[in-house]
């Protein structure tokens, strides 16, 4: 009677059932528990152990928890109920977009060495072209025979290509000698990852609009419409960036006010982008770029505040990915995973070493960090989850599984390389006393 009427009565309908509420509750509890673990001090210490670092940084643990809570194991978090809280997930996507966009500060971008631009461009080009080619071939076989036209094949192919762009920025879990050269390489790896993430989001922002379909299954997409909507998204982003700065100035250093403005700006940018059928990531990234290029102490405070929750938001997406994915990907899905992992192994270190060859003297000759670029960017998970937000289809859930598997496998590769290197170094060290013996 009374209480059930009170919950949600103010907002009207949209009631969640008791079971649904319990499921969302368990989901929220899992997110909070994971966030607590992830932000606890002992966790940072444990993460320095390479094997644990490799296991955690790629989201293995959170994805596994999500999978266990999801439909395929315990079924306590219903994915359809989760999709009912899409507005909140969109805001979280927007948060990620702003974080990525804030790396687009002009004064930093103009100091980026040409080699890093070359590396990012070469990686994006090679990864996108190769993965799109293979994905197009696989989709031609994987999709239903009636749906093997360009209208159906192009959106998933482009999405997968976006996911293959870039690499993971995290280097803490990779144990390397603390030398200036290794530090320089780690910095390049981190900066390049930020640039690549921006490239991936822009490309995804465009392809996201291709996912819209009319009742006959044709892509509902015209260049004129796309251009006009993109223009609107840009204007909204610019206005929001400027408006956000103005409102932050009015916030008079009050944290609650700044928080209100920030959540509001992120929600509007993500929501307007979604309404215009762009990715929420894309809209918010544009806002992030605008805000990053406005100077002032308030903006720097704002930046620190946003970055502070990076960990928790990333965990949320790993957990969501675990709940939303569809494990039964079949032979063609497995082929895609294998092909993408091979592409990463072949292309990423190659693009890195080729582009940075001119600076070889300033960088270490051999380092596990060269293999670190094999690891998939966390943005890929956000992109794949974002696709499910636009259309919660079986295909998209399977594509998410492909992305998750590629990420998990690629995460282990640098660790295996470092193990091999350590073994060979240990073997060399063991041989040394014998050689030195008179």
């Amino acid at each position: 009677m009374l209480p059930s009427a009170i919950v949600g009565a103010v907002a009207g309908g949209g009631e969640i059932s008791a079971t649904g509420a319990l499921r969302v509750f368990i989901g929220v509890a899992a997110v909070v528990a994971l966030s607590l673990v992830a932000t606890a001090r002992p966790f940072y210490r444990v993460q320095r152990i390479p094997a644990v670092g490799a296991f955690i940084s790629g989201g293995w643990a959170a994805i596994a928890v999500g999978l266990i809570l999801g439909r395929h194991v315990l079924n306590v978090v219903d994915r359809d109920v989760l999709l009912d809280v899409r507005p909140l997930i969109m805001i979280a996507l927007g948060w990620i977009g702003v974080i990525v966009g804030m790396q687009g500060r002009w004064e930093i971008l103009r100091r980026v060495p040409p080699a890093l631009w070359r590396w990012t461009a070469l990686d994006a080009l090679l990864s996108a072209i190769l993965s799109a080619t293979i994905a197009a071939f696989v989709m031609g076989e994987w999709l239903h025979p009636d749906h093997r036209s360009l209208d159906w094949v192009l959106p998933p192919v482009l999405m997968l290509a976006c996911c293959m762009i870039g690499w993971a920025p995290e280097t803490r879990s990779i144990r390397v000698a603390h030398t200036p050269k290794a530090g320089r390489l780690a910095l390049l790896l981190q900066s390049g990852a930020g640039l690549s993430a921006m490239a991936a989001i822009v490309l995804f922002g465009i392809t996201y609009r291709l996912t819209g379909r009319d009742e006959l299954g044709r892509m509902d997409f015209t260049i004129a419409e796309n251009a006009s909507k993109a223009l609107i998204a840009l204007v909204v982003a610019a206005l929001l960036g400027l408006g956000g700065r103005f409102m932050l100035q009015r916030a008079d250093r009050s944290r609650p006010d700044a928080l209100t403005v920030f959540i509001g700006v992120v929600a509007i940018s993500a929501g307007v982008a979604a309404t215009l059928r762009f990715s929420p990531l894309f809209g918010s990234m544009l806002v992030g770029v605008v805000v990053a290029n406005l100077t002032g102490p308030r903006v720097r405070d704002f930046e620190r505040f946003i970055m502070g929750a990076e960990h928790a938001v990333a965990l949320l997406f790993y957990l969501l990915a675990g709940v939303l994915l569809e494990p039964a990907i079949g032979l063609w899905g497995a082929i895609l995973v294998a092909a993408f992992v091979l592409i990463r192994i072949a292309v990423k270190p190659f693009a890195m070493q080729r582009s940075l060859a001119a600076h070889a003297a300033e960088l270490p000759a051999r380092s596990v960090l060269y293999a670190a670029s094999i690891r998939q960017s966390p943005i890929a998970i956000a992109i794949a989850v974002g696709l499910i937000l636009s259309e919660a289809s079986t295909l998209h859930r399977r594509l998410l599984t492909v992305v998750v598997l590629v990420g998990l496998i690629s995460e282990l590769l640098p660790y295996l390389v470092s193990l091999r290197q350590r073994r060979s170094l240990a073997a060399a060290a063991a041989e040394l006393p014998a050689m030195e013996r008179p």
Binding site: T39, G94, L259
Partner: protein, 485 residues
């Protein structure tokens, strides 16, 4: 240009942007697209069926953002005008919500300018979860504000004012309305039993007040003193008493005027007592346990206390709803906050500080959504009668509070101005109206009664915060810098 003008400019730009975006959203679809046909099922590339997102779901994220920013800007403008910020949040909700649009839609130029509500009803319903979070966080803060010490010292005042309020308002409103029934269209020519039920329902809802509004106004004005402290405790106690009064009322009313069969069955004495006991006791006990659990967790939260608070708020709201019969979320969170603040004041300070930091966005969303759901159509139709009830209730509030305070010798100015704390009504009252509507849906007067109640609540929602602020200022409990001349 002064700060106020800049704010006004930003506010106008925001409204224009919202209107423009609504126009773009509602623009006719591409002419190539065939009209939607119901027999076509959407499928994905694997030929598996796909359910498109329900209407309003995707747009609700932008709606939430607009409500946040718009309410925040309006609140700041209102603050500069010397009015409470939460009135600004409510007013913004009214302006962009579906109710005002529906009321103004017959006007041709308005319909052309604003083709649909800036935050449509379909989007508002997806903000339920956010609203539940807001209720939990507000109640948790309110629980933290009530200290055992002040309860001990002020217990006699709280009991006296609560009892006087509940009795005098219930009896007074019911009696005045019953006596004036030839003048009230809703009551005229009704059978005495029906008239009595309608009067009792109106009188019961008149008891309701809004702890959330009281807390928001107190926090915003940074008020300290007996009016604020005892007033807040009384609003909570009155709402507890209301749960009991309402349950008894429904049992009596559904016997006098049989309504919906399921409702009559649910109103059976044993069921009622069981549910009531569960609602009150279980809510308090589970809330207290949750408070204990939070205490254990607080020590382990190294960073991001705000994330913990959000999770805890969602957890309390959803847990309350998940149990059968459901708990009272307001009471659960209130109890958790009370236990935490009183048993572990030092350890919980960090959590309450984080809650305080979250309060602004929470209030913006909560009150803007409340504003967006104010029934403007009911207000337009029934304002003379609604105003009459508001005036009667206000008079009885003043009399009952003054009497209750005088019995226990609470000195002025608290005695004189505390009644202003109880004027505002919000979520709980609307929830009760929903219950009334459901129970009497078979009767032709059921809908009229609901409309009248919503009109009365709408007026109280709008006049409550400024009057309470005025009362706190007059009682001398608002610091000078929060009280611009």
């Amino acid at each position: 240009m002064g700060k106020r003008r800049y704010l006004l400019l930003a506010w106008i730009v925001l409204l224009l942007a919202m209107t423009l975006l609504r126009h773009i959203e509602l623009a006719p679809a591409d002419h190539r697209q065939p009209p939607p046909t119901p027999d076509i099922t959407l499928v994905d590339g694997l030929a598996r069926p796909v359910t498109p997102p329900p209407s309003g779901l995707i747009e609700s994220a932008a709606g939430l953002g607009f409500l946040l920013i718009g309410a925040w800007l309006t609140g700041r403008i209102f603050r500069r005008l010397g009015l409470p910020m939460i009135t600004g949040y409510l007013v913004f909700g009214v302006l962009v919500g579906p109710q005002l649009h529906q009321a103004l839609a017959p006007c041709a130029w308005f319909a052309w300018l604003v083709p649909a509500a800036l935050v449509p009803a379909e989007s508002l319903q997806y903000l339920t979860l956010v609203n539940n979070l807001a209720i939990s966080i507000i109640a948790f803060t309110a629980g933290g504000e009530i200290r055992l010490e002040s309860l001990r010292t002020g217990a006699k005042h709280i009991v006296s004012i609560t009892l006087a309020g509940v009795l005098l308002i219930f009896l007074g409103v019911a009696a005045v309305l019953y006596l004036a029934r030839p003048l009230v269209p809703l009551l005229a020519h009704r059978e005495p039993a029906v008239a009595i039920v309608i009067c009792m329902v109106l009188a019961t809802i008149a008891i309701a007040n809004s702890p959330a509004t009281a807390l928001a106004v107190i926090k915003e004005a940074d008020a300290h003193g007996p009016t604020a402290r005892i007033g807040l405790a009384v609003t909570v106690c009155k709402d507890l008493a209301l749960v009991i009064v309402f349950t008894v009322l429904m049992a009596v009313a559904l016997r006098l005027v049989p309504g919906d069969e399921a409702a009559v069955e649910a109103a059976g004495p044993s069921r009622l007592i069981g549910r009531l006991a569960w609602q009150l006791l279980a809510s308090i006990v589970i809330g207290a346990l949750a408070g204990g659990l939070f205490r254990l967790a607080i020590g382990r939260v190294a960073e991001h206390m705000a994330i913990f608070v959000i999770g805890a708020g969602f957890g309390l709201a959803l847990l309350s709803k998940a149990l059968d019969p459901p708990l009272e979320p307001l009471l659960v969170a209130l109890s958790a906050g009370f236990v935490l603040a009183n048993l572990w004041p030092r350890q919980s300070a960090r959590m309450f500080h984080a809650t305080e930091e979250l309060s602004m966005p929470v209030y913006c969303v909560f009150f803007a959504v409340a504003g967006a759901t104010i029934r403007i159509d009911a207000l337009i139709q029934l304002w003379p009668l609604a105003l009459f009830i508001v005036a009667v209730r206000a008079l009885l509030l003043w009399v009952s509070t003054f009497a209750g305070a005088a019995i226990t010798r609470l000195p002025p100015p608290a005695r004189t101005w505390m009644w202003t704390t109880f004027i505002a009504q919000a979520g709980v009252s609307i929830a009760l109206v929903t219950q009334v509507t459901g129970s009497f849906r078979n009767h032709p007067w059921g809908a009229q009664l609901a409309s009248l109640l919503l009109a009365v609540i709408a007026i109280h929602q709008l006049i409550g915060p400024p009057l309470m602020r005025l009362g706190l200022i007059r009682a001398g409990e608002v610091p000078r810098d929060e009280n611009p001349p």
